[in-house]
């Protein structure tokens, strides 16, 4: 069964003359464990698509099914819990909590769920992310790449089925970028996680299992690329 199913998704911002059709009738499905890259020009609607899949915003029309569940049929509270447990977000602007340390930032979603973090898994993540020596530092004391790795840790700690990453390497240099992508890919292999990743970087896109292109709100499946 497919983990993610998007059906006829439309999003229109504004109304009347200034209306922007950011997404037009987008449909596609992603099976469990697949690593999908989304490319497209700036302003074509990639972020809109990702935000809708993560239920950060509501669509004008259409459905998103995750694990067979229609996410827009849930009320706000159910959605919050669902998001907390099933979706991991990584943003271009890392969006860490400035008052919390690296370790606290990573376990933040678990704390919100009033759960005890799994110590072994946390250590493993810190090792993989190369943040062991930095665990008690604050975000303001880290470099951009390190901050983004913390954000990845935060997205992985709940072992979500779906990871959504919006230009996670947009603020990073090429060395850092490839590190981040490598990490994401390893994790997804290891825990059978599905990844949707927006990128402008051709070489990063080439490493994905599958490539989707958004052009002016419409989606084209460029198919599997085995470079």
């Amino acid at each position: 069964m497919d983990l993610l199913e998007v059906q006829k998704l439309c999003k229109t911002y504004g109304s009347g003359e200034t209306a922007v059709n950011a997404l037009r009738d987008v449909s596609f499905a992603v099976p469990k464990g697949e690593y999908v890259a989304i490319v497209g020009e700036s302003g074509s609607g990639k972020s809109t698509l990702l935000n809708l899949i993560g239920a950060l915003d509501t669509p004008t029309a259409g459905k998103v099914l995750i694990d067979g569940k229609d996410i827009f049929s849930m009320d706000d509270r159910q959605l919050t819990v669902f998001r907390r447990r099933n979706i991991g977000f990584i943003f271009q602007a890392f969006n860490l909590v400035p008052e919390l340390t690296v370790e606290q930032n990573i376990v933040f979603p678990l704390l919100l769920d009033y759960q005890k973090p799994d110590k072994k898994y946390l250590e493993e993540l810190l090792t993989v992310l190369n943040l062991r020596e930095r665990r008690d530092h604050l975000p303001s004391q880290l470099s951009g790449g390190q901050q983004q790795r913390v954000a990845i840790g935060r997205a992985l700690i709940t072992r979500p089925a779906l990871i959504l990453a919006d230009e996670p390497t947009g603020n990073l240099d090429s060395q850092n970028s490839s590190d981040v992508i490598r990490l994401l890919k390893e994790a997804s292999k290891k825990y059978e996680q599905t990844i949707l990743l927006i990128t402008h970087n051709r070489s990063i896109a080439q490493t994905a299992d599958r490539l989707l292109q958004v052009t002016d709100g419409s989606l084209t499946d460029l198919g599997r690329c085995r470079a």
Binding site: S47, N51, G54, L56, D57, D76, R77, T80, V81, R83, R84, R85, G88, F89, F91, Q92, A93, N95, L96, V97, P98, E99, L100, T101, Q104, F108, P109, L111, L112, D113, Y114, D136, L138, P139, S140, R154, A155, T158, D166
Partner: protein, 773 residues
């Protein structure tokens, strides 16, 4: 865009919501100052008019000068008017009478009666020696009317006059005497016939803007005046603004204090807004610097931006203030009356408006100083690196709290300066609230004319004897227009008590007055009072410091042994230093054998007519009938004025506090909006977000409450003990009621502070907050 400053209206439009509360704060400050200063101005105008009526429209009065002095004084350049008057038997000690009532005599020139003291209420000044003006109460006493005539009996003979007019200075009714005003020639005849000494007094009014102090010392040295020859009309001098010690100076002082209070609160609030405004836009300022803006340009930008808020805030605040003062004036004039019946209704006070505008501009400019400097200090690098807002330097400790609570606490404690300001503003409000509530208690004790026991009329023996007989009391209380009557007998007795003895006043109270003792708060000792009412040998002593007759003391009067079962703070009798004991009528007559009263108090029906009062007066016969209705109205007006003043202070303090905390929380939320969005996206629920904001708010509130009570309770105790315990003997208690009100108020303010951001959070669109720079 003409210049970079054209950015201001554009960005103001975009940031309207964030600025709304700030604009509200400025408007509130302007409103409060305009309103209060307008009220003070109206108050001074009213006081001036009242003082002219009550104390006379003159600045100094001179006595012991030769007659020619009047002309010389009037010739001075700085003197506007001089009038002369003399008086005879105005202390009603000699046997001058009109229609059987004691009479006092005034001889003056016309301007004294019509201008210096505007007492003439009807008719005209006596034209020639055959005419006289009488006090208003003569109409009721013997049916005097304009054009009629009367005879003045003096110790050496009778004089007849025609009535040319009436005067109303209010004193005649109170002393139950008649005042006769003559011109100087007629007065001279009466005076000479009775061999009294001539002592004319000269009343001098200076022209406006005269340096009164200097003029007075000039006149003093010119006429070689001694101490006592020159009396200053302090009230009027003060109202002209030339006094060093007076009520009016106190009023100006209170106004100045308020000005500073409002200014401080305003600066604190608006500085908070501006600071957070600047902090949120560091990247923006960094970008401006990148694009080539100089430091001074950025400072100017921030300052102009702040001034831009004044554009709507200052005029609307000032307009509201003026309207508010009209409302209060109307309430005072028609609701309270008394001395306020002369307050101007639609007065516009220029000083009030100017002060309001000044406070608005000053607040904003003072508040903009440090944020402007901070904005200018932003390095251009911040524009490039971003992430300037997250400046946490210490990690949050989660401790036993859940993560959202811990973060809320952390947000409250993050900025020491902010925490201090918030705690301080709460604590200051609580301190002021407690201090004012102690003052309110004092007003209640000292000024309350609304006691159920306040009489409208009193029938007095005049010489302190118990000459009002029981039969007369019964007769008067049965007359139409009388609602209730109650009497007090007084006797000076010799008594012995442990360790001494001496004379004291024994005063009888009937059961109704004793029942008021508790209701009116003369005493809180219910059990002791009950014993005084029920037991045969128990009396109540009036508290005075160091008196041996405290509760529990025993004493002997004429062979009877008595116990002081209760002591009270107030009694309707002033012993003037001699101890006073209160007892039942039964005990009083047993001890003294007297059955009459020294004082019989009458309370009238609401619709009692002047004819009914005149009938009562006639029935009282030889006895004095003191009319206290006018005086009660005055006291009542004073009481209400003080009460309204204190409550408006309290309301102001409350408004400023609520505004401050709502503003601070709103700012704190605005500043962290993007963070909240990010937290929402990684799974924080709306409820958790609320808890976080609530935790932050409660931290401020609880800190403020603790500090406020810690500082406020001792202040309350101090004020209470020096104003109430010292005079009324009531011991200080923890003001539980006030503390409860404060706690409720703090809770309500916190709830209000959380409510608005919570509403905003619920409708927050996560996507809008996470990726903006």
């Amino acid at each position: 865009m003409k210049s970079y400053l054209s950015l201001i209206p554009i960005s103001a439009k975009v940031r309207r919501r964030q600025n709304r509360i700030t604009v509200l704060c400025i408007a509130l400050a302007v409103f409060l100052v305009t309103g209060i200063f307008s009220m003070a101005d109206m108050g001074v105008r009213m006081e001036t008019a009242n003082a002219r009526r009550q104390h006379g429209n003159y600045h100094i009065a001179l006595r012991g000068l030769p007659e020619e002095a009047a002309e010389k004084l009037a010739a001075r350049r700085d003197v506007a008017a001089v009038s002369v008057s003399e008086s005879l038997n105005t202390d009603i000690s000699l046997d001058y009478t009109v229609a059987g009532k004691k009479a006092g005599l005034i001889g003056s020139d016309e301007s004294w009666l019509t201008d210096t003291f505007a007492y003439l209420s009807e008719g005209r000044f006596p034209a020639g020696s055959g005419e006289a003006v009488l006090s208003e109460n003569a109409k009721a006493v013997f049916g005097a009317e304009l054009g009629g005539s009367f005879t003045l009996h003096t110790p050496t003979g009778d004089f007849s006059f025609r009535i040319s007019g009436f005067e109303d200075d209010g004193s005649a009714a109170r002393y139950d005497a008649i005042l006769v005003c003559l011109d100087r020639a007629a007065f001279e005849q009466v005076r000479a016939a009775n061999g009294a000494e001539s002592a004319p007094e000269f009343f001098v009014r200076f022209r406006p803007l005269t340096q009164i102090r200097r003029a007075i010392s000039e006149i003093k040295s010119q006429y070689g005046l001694e101490e006592g020859q020159l009396a200053e009309n302090l009230v009027l001098i003060a109202l002209s603004g030339f006094s060093e010690n007076s009520v009016v100076l106190g009023m100006y002082g209170a106004a100045a204090f308020l000005f500073v209070l409002v200014l401080t609160a305003g600066v604190i609030m608006i500085a908070g807004s501006l600071n957070s405004n600047v902090a949120q836009r560091t990247a923006f300022f960094g970008m401006l610097r990148c694009l080539g803006a100089s430091k001074s340009q950025i400072m100017r930008l921030v300052r102009r931006e702040a001034l831009y808020w004044c554009r709507s805030a200052v005029p609307s605040g000032a307009a509201l203030g003026v309207a508010g003062s009209w409302g209060v004036c109307a309430a005072l004039r028609y609701g309270v009356g008394g001395m306020f019946s002369g307050i101007p209704l639609f007065g516009v006070s220029l000083p009030g408006i100017l002060c309001g505008v000044l406070v608005g501009l000053l607040t904003v400019l003072l508040a903009a100083r440090s944020p402007a400097r901070r904005a200018a200090a932003v390095s251009p690098v911040t524009a490039v690196t971003g992430n300037a807002e997250s400046k946490a330097t210490r990690p949050a400790r989660l401790g036993p709290w859940r993560v959202e609570t811990a973060l809320g606490l952390r947000h409250a404690a993050a900025s020491k300066k902010n925490l201090l300001l918030m705690t301080g503003s709460f604590a200051l409000s609580i301190l002021l609230f407690l201090s004012f509530s102690a003052v309110l208690a004092w007003i209640h004790y000292a000024l309350n004319p609304l006691r159920p026991s306040s009489p409208d009329l009193s029938v007095l023996s005049g010489d302190g004897s118990n000459a009002v007989s029981g039969e007369l009391a019964a007769e008067l209380s049965a007359m139409p227009g009388v609602k209730r009557s109650f009497g007090r007998a007084v006797q000076r007795l010799e008594a012995e008590w442990e360790g001494g003895g001496g004379s004291l006043f024994l005063v009888s109270l009937d059961d109704r007055q004793l029942s008021w003792a508790e209701k009116e708060g003369w005493t809180v000792d219910r059990r002791g009072l009950e014993r005084v009412r029920r037991e045969e040998n128990c009396v109540m002593s009036v508290y005075s410091e160091g008196s041996p007759l405290q509760k529990g003391a025993r004493l002997q009067i004429g062979g009877e042994s008595l116990e002081v079962a209760c002591s009270c703070a107030y009694a309707p009798f002033d012993g003037g230093g001699t101890p006073v004991l209160l007892c039942t009528e039964a005990l009083f007559s047993r001890l003294t054998g007297e059955s009459g009263y020294a004082v019989l108090d009458l309370q009238l029906e609401k619709d009692a007519t002047e004819e009914q009062v005149a009938a009562l007066r006639a029935a009282a016969g030889e006895l004095l009938l003191s009319d206290r209705r006018a005086g009660n109205r005055e006291t009542s007006a004073t009481y209400w004025a003080f009460t309204i003043l204190v409550y408006s202070f309290l309301a102001m303090i409350a408004a400023i506090t609520v505004c401050n905390i709502v503003n601070s929380i709103s700012l704190s939320v605005s500043a962290r909006m993007r963070q909240y969005g990010a937290m929402r996206s990684v799974g924080m629920s709306g409820r958790q977000l609320m808890k976080m904001i609530t935790a932050e708010t409660l931290t401020y509130a609880l800190c403020g409450l603790t500090v406020g009570l810690a500082a406020g309770l001792p202040a309350h105790k101090m004020i209470y003990e020096s104003f109430i315990t010292a005079y009324f003997g009531e011991a200080w208690k923890v003001p539980a009621g006030a503390a409860l009100v404060i706690a409720a108020f703090v809770a309500a303010a916190s709830a209000a502070a959380v409510y608005a951001p919570a509403k905003r959070m619920r409708s927050m669109v996560i996507t809008e907050t996470i990726n903006e720079l």
